[in-house]
Symmetry: C2
Subunit: 334 residues, 2 copies
């Protein structure tokens, strides 16, 4: 059973994934693990027997569950970092706090085509992916054990992907990650002082200023943040205040799919299709004091020359001015 442990100094929860006894030599430096080619890819149509049974799939009438025909498919992760079954058994051990590693870990297979990246998909297909994520969150949030759902994508081996076939991941957690809690506290404090949403204020300021805008569409805006940790980091924010991703409506999803595709195309153009991480930052579940939060999506290209410094120095050093990043992205020939 995996375990959740809390650092007593800063309150950060960490998943200790003890399922498999790892020997030190398995962790040694070397090339990233080789990715499965399409011939044995468990995410390809026709290979559905290689994965756990599907939780959700968008497929035409007449096509059968766990067979081919789907265009988006959601399955439990075969090697989950948390387990769905069991009780939390929260426990204090002197200064320390722990609970069982209860949660859900799902994979959203974004396309039947092995070779297509998210940026290669038609906007309608991206929209289906975004809808599948929304529908899964709305289902999972009925489980009262879960406090937070993180949705993320590791694209490329350098960004932590271990399978080539394009997919996102979803992890439902019984705790709120420190980053999410810090953001929530910042939003609450701003609302308490000003009776306005911090992110809504930020969007207005960015629109007035213009220098960090990458794309300004009907419902969403894409910016490079003022204090970006990474070169070419991008945030996509809904213009209308909304605390949770899962409340997004169908019309908005269409716009989100378009701006996300556009942002990825620009990044691919400027940075020659880099590895990247993407994460949806949304309010904690069933938390009444989260109204002042404003969900958004972060895209972080994984660039070789910027690795390593943060762990060492303990803070971020960004070698590219965010306004320069925005200019390159805005002017990209897409």
């Amino acid at each position: 059973m995996p375990e959740l442990r809390r650092d007593p100094i800063v309150g950060r929860w960490v998943i200790i994934s003890s399922e498999r006894k790892i020997r030190p030599h398995e962790l040694l430096q070397g090339q990233p693990p080789a990715m499965a080619s399409s011939s044995v890819c468990p995410f390809c149509p026709g290979q559905e027997r290689l994965t756990p049974r599907e939780i959700l799939a968008y497929r035409p009438p007449g096509s059968h569950a766990n067979g081919p025909g789907w265009h988006v498919r959601v399955i439990p992760n075969k090697f989950p970092v948390l387990q769905v079954e069991g009780a939390l058994d929260r426990e204090g051990l002197g200064l320390f706090d722990r609970m069982n590693g209860i949660g859900a870990h799902e994979i959203i297979i974004e396309t039947p085509e092995h070779k297509h990246a998210l940026a290669d998909l038609a906007p309608q297909q991206v929209e289906s992916v975004l809808r599948a994520i929304r529908d899964r969150i709305n289902d999972l949030k009925r489980d009262s054990r879960f406090r937070y759902i993180t949705v993320f994508k590791n694209h490329g081996a350098a960004a932590g992907a271990t399978l080539e076939h394009s997919h996102s991941q979803l992890i439902a957690l019984p705790v709120v990650p420190t980053t999410a809690m810090l953001e929530l506290v910042g939003c609450r404090e701003h609302y308490r002082l000003k009776e306005r949403c911090l992110f809504c204020d930020l969007i207005r300021q960015e629109q007035r200023d213009g220098h960090r805008i990458v794309i300004d569409s009907a419902d969403f805006v894409c910016v490079t943040p003022f204090a970006a940790r990474y070169p070419f980091e991008m945030w996509i924010l809904p213009k209308q205040h909304a605390k949770s991703y899962e409340d997004v409506n169908d019309a908005s999803l269409e716009w989100l799919a378009r701006i996300l595709s556009d942002a990825l195309h620009r990044m691919d153009r400027v940075l020659a299709s880099p590895a990247y991480n993407m994460v949806i930052r949304s309010a904690p579940l069933n938390e009444r004091r989260a109204q002042s939060y404003h969900w958004h999506l972060e895209i972080i290209p994984k660039l070789a020359q910027t690795a390593g410094f943060e762990e060492g120095a303990g803070f971020h050093i960004n070698p590219v001015v965010p306004e320069e990043s925005a200019k390159f992205l805005r002017e990209a020939d897409v």
Copy 2:
């Protein structure tokens, strides 16, 4: 002039290093930059003219500044992320906050021998390195512009090192990094409730429990933390309460050098001499409310199979139980 910018959501300061206009292609994926070999190494004896003039050097009587003969040498970084000269010019821009990138960025060259890693050095030499760091902090803290000094080491290209010759870095900052602030707040809150230091409590609990102890020496203890973010992460803590590294006395430095060497030998043995990051976590400078803080040193091996997940998921997943890590390290044949 580099710049410090504050994220308005979580309050995190980031260095935006705008000195050199970086073109996107310079950031692209690829092999880490090739490291200078000893023939052209600016940190080797005899090549002192290739570096800025030394700030501090331990050298025998009769040897001349900026010439060979030294056994530890401290120089300004030739490519500093912050600049010493200038005024902070703190400024608000609507929601955003910025100041000029004022600070110090120094390199501690740990040995005259190009091929020796920190773990290869005699304990007396390690002690000299630790003393040089202490002496530099005590000098820099007289500059009232500085709020925090971070000391760190990136060993190996995978950990962010760009020069092979063994060295540490020191950055004096006019702001307190978020991580340091969060730790300080945790320590203050514990002290307020219990009138005891949180880290002192933690050391006592670890000693009683024993499962996460790697080395227990006279003045220091080395443990794998209960909620370790990374496999084989180690903390070295002084047993006697002390908020700041720079207050450590000569007798303690001798013990610190020994336990640090021992810990590195054990890590090298178990993980085949991995790349690693090391960071000294100490109290903010000239901060009267920091008495409840307890300085310590963190060692984080950079292991291929654990990269990428944190950026994606937004929290840490550690595939090795800290008690298992401690057992491997404790039982290492050194």
